[in-house]
Symmetry: C2
Subunit: 228 residues, 2 copies
DNA sequence: GTCTATAACCGGATAGAC
DNA sequence: GTCTATCCGGTTATAGAC
């Protein structure tokens, strides 16, 4: 069940070749239509060999996920280093997510449901995928901390995780979006990022203090207690 | 792909028997461990016959979903007819969801991910499962309209759908919950239902008017425009 | 036309020899 | 680390029974 790390040069080559073939085929034919046999065939190895490196088809998806995360992080690096306005940073970051994932739009549905499955090793709430999730959460921490927005400490603590969840929500919307150029998703992103920044500033209002404390306390409790 | 409705008495009997066997087996062994062959065997029909009534294993899940919905609706009927306080109605309704689903806790993970899959016929955002979703949304409309809370029209319009989504969120939390007696989920329910009612009352504050209009407009737009 | 059964297909996963 | 052979379970084709 663990991820196999190749021990030899030859092993590394095989592993990389299998992964490449898989990514290509996912993109060409979609997730279900890509069989483990077709991946092995295109790579030029046997079916059994594929399983030596990737204990299941799902584990190939995990690599796929890592792949797009790296593309995404690279795509927004310039923005994050020059821009200070939080709304702009956030909007640019989320827009870049859907742009980066666009080539995989057709595959995304199956992948999303795999990831959402609590029984899957890929579920981001614990398991093999957790380290990668933490990287993405860290990326949103950078989005926030690199801005000139002054955010109360209790909100700042939980915000990156909330933004990661928000990103998931946008991706789920995007999966259903069939508008030309995926314009609807972009509209929703523009509207929601603005709204989020506005709500953060409103959270300082005295009347909202009580609810804010309760909400943040609840989130913290959910996140930090084990198994839930 | 359509749902097959038996045309004869004998057909009805077979269909009901298959469904019963499936529900029992799901509960006994979980979703994955229950094979279509085992369902057919327990029913005393052939594998092919099962497929005459249920075009896929997923379609059995849809019936399962309907089954629990009916148990749930029956369970909360007394509460809804006697209680007028919104927070109490909402808390009781959501608590009853997890209580009703408790016997299926072990199966729920697989089922949830099946349902979340945009490619699945069971996805509630369109497809075969939509009528059932509408029934559940209607149930939340009753929870709200039967209370003595005075809710602005724009909120009241979208609230039932939001509460259905909220229920989904609670169920997802509950799936992960391994605390004894599922106490954590019950705690989260109590806290969140209270919070929701509180936030609805706060929504009338002048400072929040703008955000409220924007949020409700956005939700309405997402719900009502096709394909998204 | 409605129901039931048998036999096969397909693809993910595994065992075990080399 | 690589292969072949096999299992297992969802699904389908199709022939016959009522």
């Amino acid at each position: 069940m663990a991820i196999e790390v190749p021990k030899t040069r030859r092993g590394e080559t095989s592993r990389a070749a299998i992964l490449n073939a898989a990514l290509d085929l996912f993109q060409e034919r979609g997730y279900e239509a890509t069989t483990m046999r077709s991946i092995a065939e295109r790579t030029g190895v046997s079916l059994g060999s594929s399983y030596h490196y990737f204990p299941s088809k799902e584990h190939l998806v995990l690599e796929f996920y890592r792949h797009t995360h790296e593309l995404h992080a690279a795509a927004i690096a310039p923005l994050l280093s020059r821009e200070k306005d939080l709304a702009t940073r956030l909007r640019g970051t989320i827009r870049a997510v859907v742009v980066t994932c666009e080539p995989f739009h057709a595959v995304a549905g199956s992948i999303f449901s795999t990831v959402a499955n609590p029984a899957s090793p890929l579920n981001p709430f614990g398991g093999v995928a957790k380290p990668l999730r933490d990287e993405v959460v860290q990326l949103y921490a950078d989005v926030v901390s690199g801005s000139d927005a002054r955010i109360p400490a209790d909100i700042a603590e939980m915000l990156p995780l909330m933004l990661w969840l928000y990103q998931m929500g946008i991706l789920y919307f995007w999966i259903f979006d069939r508008s030309p150029g995926r314009l609807r998703t972009l509209e929703v992103i523009d509207e929601t990022t603005d709204l989020i920044v506005r709500l953060i500033s409103l959270a300082n209002l005295p009347v909202l203090r009580g609810s804010r404390k309760r909400i943040l306390g609840l989130i913290k409790d959910i996140v930090e207690r084990p198994q839930g």
